[in-house]
């Protein structure tokens, strides 16, 4: 009986990993960028809008994690009712499918925060270079999107 219910536990663990790890990455990233943004705004409040956009860039990983979490929960029937029976092996497959966005979200969130903080330095000195400055942290986003894609494809492709 316990072995049978492990499937849903693994699947839920997968959803939790996606939300928790990617969310933590975003929290770290937005925190780092937020410190830099505060530094600039304390000297020049007119740059508030520009640095706010920069600060928000590392926030997307948390949203990606949330999205994968939702898809997983609805797939196993925890959202929308009609919970399905999941074998332990299927549960583990769902857990594995959730890991890309969880792990990449954590690492890329923090890295993007540091890049955003550095890019905020560009905005501080040369506000007219905002477009170019935004591209640097946006590059980090690519890898979070790739991980999101794989997680969504994998979770959707698993038959329950």
């Amino acid at each position: 009986m316990i072995l049978e219910s492990l499937g849903i536990v693994y699947a839920l663990l997968g959803a939790a990993c996606a939300v928790f790890l990617a969310g933590a990455g975003s929290a770290l990233g937005v925190g780092i960028a937020g410190q830099a943004a505060s530094g600039v705004v304390s000297e020049d409040p007119s740059k508030f809008a520009k640095v706010l956009i920069m600060q928000l860039l590392p926030g997307t990983q948390g949203i990606y994690g949330l999205l994968v979490g939702f898809i997983t929960l609805s797939k196993i029937g925890i959202i929308g009712g009609g919970a399905v029976e999941i074998s332990p092996s299927t549960g583990l497959l769902i857990l594995a499918a959730c890991l890309p966005i969880g792990i990449v979200g954590l690492i890329s969130g923090k890295s993007q925060g540091k890049t955003a903080a550095a890019a905020i330095g560009i905005v501080a000195k040369k506000p007219d270079q905002f477009g170019k400055a935004m591209l640097f942290p946006a590059m980090v986003e690519t890898y979070a999107i790739l991980a999101l894609l794989i997680s969504i494809l994998a979770v959707s492709g698993i038959q329950v």
């Binding site: 830099a36 530094g39 905020i120």
Partner: protein, 323 residues
């Protein structure tokens, strides 16, 4: 300390860097017709405040204060900056010892923007409470005090305190985890050694005296420099040409002011990479040094204008700016 702790401070410094004087503004200052015009231009750039008006010395003093106010506000750990004010603290010690031993009171001989301000230092020396000084300073203070009292040799007292200051700076640099502090300490001590060697050579000091005055550091050998100083100015240039200060030797041949200028420009070259560093204490230290360099340059220009020096004479003393 984790470099990420400096994220807020560095971003704030980045904003402030935008208001540092550029080489073109310095050029404008040199081209001004009079000191008043210079002060008006500086005032437009935000120098001084409503209290200082167009008073040159008050404006420069206020700018020095503003820099430390910013650093004190943003730096998570102020102890990193102690090394920058060592020369001021040791100067205060020297001035206090001389004032107490000679019983001659002079005005404006102390620095107040450092760890031990003038009045406190004077109190310590007057009451011979050398134990209140930091460990590495107490013994030196006692030695310099006794030397001046017994020999009345002010120069010897200076040598003892100045050497201790250089040793303290070098030691702080060696113990620092921050590369910029290590570089600052190494450059400061090496350049001070070169200046001492040149002066000793010109005044014909003995080898023992030179050895006592020179502090050890990595980039310059105190022993070889002392021997070169004894041999003559050409020997100093020859020795320096084999070190990292080869360009400085050329500047020395040109004139003492060209050498001073080269020293400051070299320091700016050393700290310039910090403009691209988004974390760590480096950009804060670089900003502090850049402001000192900027204020020194403006002081040179204003003094030149006050004394109606030709623009060219001022221009050859003007330092390169950080930004």
């Amino acid at each position: 300390m984790n470099d990420l702790e400096y994220t807020y401070a560095v971003a704030r410094i980045r904003s402030l860097e935008a208001s540092l004087l550029t080489d073109s503004v310095i050029d404008q200052l040199v081209n001004c017709q009079s000191e008043k015009q210079c002060l008006e231009l500086l005032s437009e750039k935000g120098w001084g405040d409503h209290e200082t008006g167009l008073d040159a010395s008050a404006m420069l003093k206020r700018e020095e204060e503003k820099t430390w106010e910013v650093i004190r506000e943003v730096a998570p750990d102020l102890s990193v900056f102690d090394v920058l004010s060592y020369s001021k603290v040791y100067h205060n010690l020297k001035a206090a010892i001389k004032e107490v031993c000679t019983e001659v009171q002079s005005e404006n001989i102390f620095y107040d923007d450092c760890a031990i301000p003038g009045s406190e230092m004077l109190g310590i020396v007057e009451n011979k409470e050398f134990g209140r000084l930091p460990d590495n300073m107490a013994a030196v203070a006692q030695e310099a005090y006794d030397t001046l009292l017994h020999t009345r040799d002010g120069q010897l007292c200076d040598v003892i305190v100045d050497r201790a200051a250089l040793d303290a700076i070098y030691e702080a640099g060696r113990n620092s985890k921050d590369e910029i502090i290590r570089n600052y300490a190494e450059s400061t001590v090496a350049i001070a050694d070169i200046k001492i060697a040149v002066r000793c050579q010109k005044t014909g000091k003995s080898l023992d005296f030179i050895r006592r005055a020179l502090a050890d550091c990595e980039s310059v050998s105190a022993e070889q420099l002392a021997k070169a100083a004894l041999a003559g100015s050409e020997a100093i240039g020859e020795y320096l040409s084999g070190t990292a200060y080869a360009e400085g030797a050329q500047a020395l041949e040109e004139s003492p002011s060209a050498f001073e200028r080269w020293c400051d420009n070299r320091m700016m070259d050393t700290i310039r990479p910090q403009k691209y560093n988004a974390f760590s204490v480096g950009p804060l230290v670089a900003y502090q040094l850049a402001r000192e360099n900027e204020i020194k340059t403006v002081r040179i220009i204003l003094t030149g204008k006050q004394n109606e020096f030709p623009d060219e004479a001022i221009r050859e003393r003007v330092r390169e700016m950080y930004v």
